[in-house]
Each structure stands twice: as structure tokens, then as C-alpha cells.
């Protein structure tokens, strides 16, 4: 018996967790990389990290190859329709285990094979996750929101405007700078959002107290003028943030320095005829903007 076989046969390998650990590592790398090259073409997604498993437990090599495991592109793919094509369901099942949210959809008494189309985007300041789910009823959203509030690490949940029909958009505000992972499984369709402790911080990531700069509007009501701005800056993937006063601002991009933010503002002013609504703002992970 050779040493190599010995090692392989005698070390118990927690394969599911090993796969998760690798994906988490690659997710962090993408996050670090993205921070270093934040630009107009990229979303300011902070820590989104998504997987598509073809089977729940033993992802095939095919799944790794085709499932676009590396974050950036996959997250962008999700933006044009994560989840299955069908939105037909008659109920929703929501489960919270510690800091993990698990959502399934039910139709004709059984869990659907795929989840409804969804989008996800993360931000560092304030630390939050924007989620949009298609064809969710008000009742289902309320059930979901109630469960999300039970998640460890969540400090607030609020609805945001959606430009798409039949889509419910909302923001989950986290009470510290978390990494998170969005995992989609099929057969049965399961969508899970998991928050990671800061054990995953590395020296190159934003520390919780680090100032993050972004472009923002003044606080507004959730009305047609906010909707008009959402439409106007749609290409910049704006995020809606609830302020301390309860109004909403549009936030675009996240930058490590004020200079980078100002440079981006100048570019937008050229592209959007002055972009008078925007100014540079800043904040930290736990800081709700004024």
C-alpha cells in the first residue's frame, strides 16, 4: 500500500463542507478583486457568492464546470434571471437556522423543482443584501420578512421599489460586516442565504470600521420621483437605502477612497447631463446614512 492511497483511504473527508470551503475562498477572492477594480461596469456587490448545484449533495464535475462557480459572472448571470423559468407556485416555505435562510416554493403539494427567478446584490456600507424575487405575493413576502427578522445577524428588513412587474424587492440590513453566500439548488428548488462570521475577513477586505464611499441622492419618499431616478440610473445598478429619517436614497457604487468616488461622479455627470441628483457620500458597515 502506498502512502498516497493510505492518506486518501484513511482521512475522513467532509466533502460537502470541503466544497463549501473552496467556494467560500473563491468568493472572498472575487470580493477582494472586485473591490480593487470597482468601476462603472461592475456592480458594487460586496460579497455575493452564488452556487448552482445540480444535485443537493454530490455536485458533479459537470456542475462545477458549467455552474460558473466563480462569483462575478455568475452573480451577473443571476441579474438577468437567477432561479428557474417557471414562477408557478401556490405557497412558500421559509426556514431560518441560525444565520441561514432557506426558501422553497410549493406547488400542488410538493416543492417545486426550481426556485422563482431572483436577483441578489450585496453592499458594504451599510452592510446589506438587496434581494428581488419574482411572483411573490404580499402574503408570502410578509411570511418571508418575518422569518428574515429572526436570522442571526439581521438588524432590519425593508421593501424597496422594483422596476420589474410582479417582482418583490427588499433589503436585508446586517448588523455587522458579514460575508454572505447565496446558494441555489434544483430538484428540489431551494434558495438559501447564509451569513458568515468575520472569521473570513482577510487583511485586504474592508474592516468594519473602514469608510466606504458611494454616490448618493438626497433622501426621498418611495414615490414616482424615486422610481424615475431608478429608471434613469438603471445601468449603474443603483441600490435603495433607507436613511435614519426613514426616507430613501439611491446609492451607486462603493469605493475605497473619496477620490475614486469623485472620479466616478465626474464620469456620470458627463454621461447623464450633469447628474445633478448625485453627490459623494460615505459611511461604514454599521452606519445608516442620514
Amino acid at each position: 500500500m502506498d502512502a498516497e492511497r493510505f492518506a486518501y483511504e484513511n482521512i475522513e473527508i467532509p466533502d460537502d463542507r470541503l466544497v463549501q470551503a473552496i467556494y467560500a475562498g473563491m468568493g472572498r477572492a472575487e470580493r477582494i478583486r472586485r473591490k480593487k477594480r470597482l468601476s462603472a461596469s461592475l456592480t458594487a456587490a460586496a460579497a455575493a457568492f452564488a452556487l448552482l448545484f445540480c444535485s443537493a449533495n454530490i455536485p458533479s464535475v459537470y456542475a462545477y464546470a458549467s455552474g460558473l462557480p466563480v462569483v462575478g459572472e455568475f452573480v451577473r448571470a443571476l441579474h438577468i434571471g437567477g432561479g428557474g423559468k417557471t414562477t408557478l407556485h401556490e405557497g412558500i416555505s421559509v426556514e431560518v437556522v441560525d444565520s441561514e435562510l432557506i426558501v422553497r416554493f410549493v406547488n400542488q403539494g410538493r416543492t417545486t423543482d426550481t426556485v422563482v427567478p431572483y436577483r441578489v446584490q450585496g453592499h458594504d456600507a451599510p452592510c446589506r443584501i438587496d434581494l428581488s424575487l419574482k411572483s411573490l405575493t404580499e402574503e408570502e413576502y410578509e411570511k418571508l420578512e418575518a422569518q428574515i427578522r429572526e436570522m442571526k445577524g439581521v438588524s432590519d428588513v425593508y421593501r424597496t421599489l422594483s422596476l420589474e412587474k410582479d417582482t418583490v424587492s427588499f433589503t436585508i440590513v446586517l448588523n455587522r460586516l458579514y460575508d454572505y453566500e447565496v446558494m441555489e439548488q434544483i430538484f428540489p428548488g431551494t434558495l438559501s442565504v447564509r451569513l458568515f462570521q468575520d472569521a473570513y475577513y482577510t487583511a485586504e477586505e474592508n474592516a468594519p470600521e473602514q469608510q466606504v464611499y458611494y454616490l448618493r441622492t438626497e433622501g426621498m419618499e418611495q414615490d414616482d420621483s424615486l422610481r424615475a431616478l431608478l429608471e434613469k440610473y438603471k445601468a449603474e445598478e443603483p441600490s435603495q437605502v433607507r436613511t435614519q429619517e426613514g426616507s430613501f436614497i439611491l446609492a451607486i457604487g462603493e469605493f475605497d477612497t473619496r477620490e475614486e468616488a469623485e472620479k466616478r461622479l465626474l464620469e456620470l455627470q458627463e454621461s447623464y447631463a450633469g447628474a445633478a441628483e448625485l453627490q459623494v457620500g460615505s459611511g461604514m458597515a454599521k452606519e445608516v446614512p442620514e
Binding site: M1, A21, G25, M26, A29, T202
Partner: protein, 170 residues
């Protein structure tokens, strides 16, 4: 011919070799969670520095070096020695290994060798793990660690000698 890999191929290759990488990390820390953390951190580092990989054919050795360095860093940072697997967590009991006579004495020797790794400094473990558990030859290890082959040989023999003395009570 040089052929660099992209991040998707990186993901594919790291998945293909994940168990091997885990075993190497485990050899250093003898703890499941720590080994997972090491592989996770190494995956992050590997992806961040993918452009440093000269050619796809060196992926495994290149990534092994990252795993090794991350393992050593991990032990240093945590300032503690990996626990001796007294309860053999994750491993068959020594007695059980001994009973498996059809596998021959090699199995026992390997088990002893594996357990004796714990007496080595993290850097010293590298030579034993790569040479005897990953079956790399000295030339490959030298390339991987960017050391002269003669240095690798002498350090490997020194580490082996240290283990031998420990195992024979010398």
C-alpha cells in the same frame, strides 16, 4: 507550450484535486475545521494570484505550494502545535490498523509515520508530506518550494531522522 488558465478552469481543477489538498492541509493541523479553513484560504489566495501560475500543467504543484505555505502560516498564526490524534479522530484506531493484516506492515508503518509528523516543525512536515504522502520526487518538491534539490534532500532526511528517533525512543 505555456497555457495559462482562467478562473473557471481554476475552479474546475481545484475541485478535481480538492481531496488531495485537504489531505495535505489535514496532515499539518490534524483537525477538520482547521484543514477546511486552510483549503478555503488557499483557494482564495490561488484565485487572487492566478496570473502567477505560468502554465496549466503546473497547477497541482503550484496549488500544493500554496496549501503548504497556508498550512505553515496557519500553524504560526495560531501559535499552537497540532494536537496528537490520541483519539485518532478521522483515522482508524492504531489497533484496528494493525488487525488489518492483509494490508501488511506498511499500513502500520505509515500510520506511525503519519502520527509522528506532529513532532516536526511545520516546515519540516512539508518534506515528509510531499515526499511520502503525496509521492512527489525530490526534484518536483525542489521546484515546488523553489529550493535546491540538495537542500530538499538533506532537510527531508533530517526530518525523517528526527521522526525515526522519536518513534524508536532514541
Amino acid at each position: 507550450m505555456k497555457r495559462q488558465i482562467g478562473k473557471h478552469e481554476f475552479a474546475e481543477k481545484i475541485m478535481e484535486n480538492r481531496k488531495r489538498f485537504y489531505c495535505i492541509a489535514y496532515s499539518y493541523v490534524k483537525n477538520e475545521q482547521d484543514a477546511l479553513d486552510i483549503v478555503s484560504e488557499a483557494s482564495c489566495k490561488g484565485l487572487l494570484h492566478l496570473k502567477d501560475l505560468d502554465s496549466a500543467e503546473y497547477f497541482v504543484t503550484w496549488m500544493t505550494r500554496i496549501i503548504v505555505n497556508t498550512s505553515i502560516d496557519f500553524i504560526r498564526k495560531n501559535s499552537r502545535l497540532a494536537p496528537l490524534p490520541e483519539d485518532s479522530g478521522g483515522y482508524p484506531e492504531a489497533a484496528q490498523a494493525g488487525e488489518a493484516s492483509e494490508t501488511g506492515p506498511d499500513r502500520e508503518s505509515l500510520m506511525d509515520l503519519y502520527n509522528a509528523l506532529d513532532i516536526l516543525e511545520p516546515e519540516e512536515r512539508t518534506y515528509i508530506v510531499l515526499r511520502y504522502f503525496e509521492a512527489y520526487n525530490f526534484r518536483e518538491i525542489a521546484q515546488m518550494l523553489r529550493l535546491p534539490e540538495s537542500t530538499v534532500k538533506s532537510r527531508s532526511y533530517r526530518a525523517l531522522d528526527k521522526m525515526k528517533r522519536h518513534m524508536t525512543g532514541g
